[in-house]
Symmetry: C2
Subunit: 328 residues, 2 copies
């Protein structure tokens, strides 16, 4: 992947002040792209102005909500690339406020695609979907043909949002591609509470000297991607002409139990973990073990996750040791 291709290109990133969006923005801006970041900065979501500290004078920041169809129309027009990363990502919040999740993950996606169709049909679009749409895996590793049985409102809505992207390519030729992300971690993730991935709150507790809490027996398996690898996947996909209308899992060759995950983290930074009963609201929407197959993106687009969990987590913890107060 030749990131210099993005030099002087116009790029719009929805959710651009969020975890993945800001890491992507930094790379693109350093490669010479003209980047506009759209973010609602809703406090319970991932947006954080500090995330783009290294490039803050070189990014165009547009604080607005993807649910605002009028703003999106103007923002989409004229862009070469659209990385569509804005979303409500909390599984638990989606059960408590399903309509909010629907408005962001379904309705706003339709507005964004309609904006592309009518105001920028030549844009190159990459959409961030989620492994949550598979629900409880029937077999592991999960590839892209696995049945789709999401176990929470967020999964159902993200699936609809994803399918709109495929449909708008099939019917209108909007050149969209879809990545199904698994647990992503790294600098600039939200660590304030347990709303998003559990790794965030674990990092916070570790740095605050509190035990990390494992729900259940700790045997549950997850795969993790370091954010730099996910940014790579987004860029590689955007530059590929073979991925229009396609959907790709990300994933990792390392599958780690929660206990093992916590253990590695305490080896990087002194701390402890404890086992606590599963809260019932979480148990009912839990997916059990998960590992995704990334064979398709590997063979078709040449993407590979390059960062081991230990290395990525070392970088991550180092970042939060330095900037903890910006994320509390």
């Amino acid at each position: 992947m030749n990131i210099s291709t993005f030099n002087n290109k116009k790029v719009l990133i929805t959710g651009g002040l969020g975890f993945i969006g800001s890491n992507l923005a930094i790379q693109l801006i350093e490669a010479g792209a003209k980047v506009t970041l759209v973010d609602s900065l809703i406090p319970t979501y991932g947006g954080n102005l500090f995330n783009i500290e290294p490039v803050k004078y070189r990014a165009r920041i547009n604080i607005s909500d993807v649910r605002d169809p009028h703003a999106m129309k103007h923002l989409v027009a004229g862009q070469d690339y659209l990385f569509n990363l804005a979303g409500q990502t909390s599984h638990l919040d989606s059960m408590e406020a399903p309509e909010t999740d629907l408005n962001i993950n379904v309705l706003a996606q339709l507005h964004i695609l309609e904006a592309c169709r009518h105001h920028n049909p030549d844009v190159r679009l990459v959409f961030a979907s989620t492994r949550q749409i598979y629900g409880k895996p029937l077999q592991i590793p999960v590839d892209e043909s696995h049945p789709l049985n999401p176990v929470d409102v967020n999964g159902i809505n993200k699936l609809a949002g994803e399918q709109y992207h495929r449909l708008y390519y099939d019917v209108y030729g909007i050149r969209s591609s879809i990545l199904r992300l698994t647990n992503t971690y790294g600098p600039r993730m939200r660590i304030k509470d347990a709303r998003q991935t559990f790794l965030g709150i674990w990092i916070r507790r570790l740095l605050e000297g509190l035990p990390m809490q494992i729900f259940g027996d700790g045997n549950q398996v997850r795969d993790y991607n370091y954010v730099e690898d996910v940014v790579d996947a987004l860029l590689i996909t955007a530059l590929s002409d073979n991925s229009y209308g396609q959907v790709y899992n990300l994933g990792s060759e390392e599958d780690l139990s929660l206990s093992k995950t916590a253990q590695i983290m305490t080896e990087i930074h002194d701390g402890s973990f404890e086992y606590v009963p599963f809260p019932s609201s979480r148990k009912s929407i839990d997916i059990g073990d998960y590992q995704g197959s990334f064979e398709k993106i590997k063979s078709q687009l040449g993407w590979l996750p390059r960062t081991s969990f230990r290395d990525g987590m070392r970088e991550t913890i180092a970042y939060y040791k330095q900037y903890l107060e910006k994320y509390l």
Copy 2:
């Protein structure tokens, strides 16, 4: 299936003045059920007050929109059964007005399920989904495990609505079951234009002495269910305790090409048909051949389609010969 079980039971039917809803209502009212019909009577949809002519003094009619969450709360409370049939069903309209389709087929479904959860968690709910969620069949016949790749906004939205019903059973115990309907035909269907199933407009043209128009070469295969058989399926499902959270295809053992379909219709009533090119707006969302497998509902619930296309269409045409002006 013992329809007398519904005697004195309170039943709510959304889309109750529509095609399938009204046929269901007539049977339930004749069996002694206390039936409330919710319908928006939006002119381009299927609702028609004449549909319940035989029982009009025995049904409680509530003209309102399922998109109105406040009304639904009151309507759902106290019901024993909820047949959730309201929907935007036009594939073409869903592409032209995707947000309307989303509001009816996704958002309103969430409101209905939230109303059940908070105001009537013991209700027995049957939801009418559609074979459209499969998209272009990868193999025929299509069973319930076929991949879900809807080819239009309607299919994506109906899938989300369907998955909410499954989820609300899995997480909240709302006893919902899902039927994936294929082409249903019979008395009380909308025949005014080509918005809904093509069989409607064919019947109208046949009775008006105009040629029925076949898009393409006429070799495309469809399966049809007579509305009485679909009503049977709804009732059987509602009375089964084994179908909570389950999804079932309907279908037919007869698979008929469009040419053969038109030919049978001209044998029942003098008329003609002609081949015309596929309009591009329809071609892009067409699913090709389709036949569903109904093995699951047959083996688990004992449902079978009992009416041949020829017999059902004879009844249907006889109905429209008598009441044509009520449907124009």
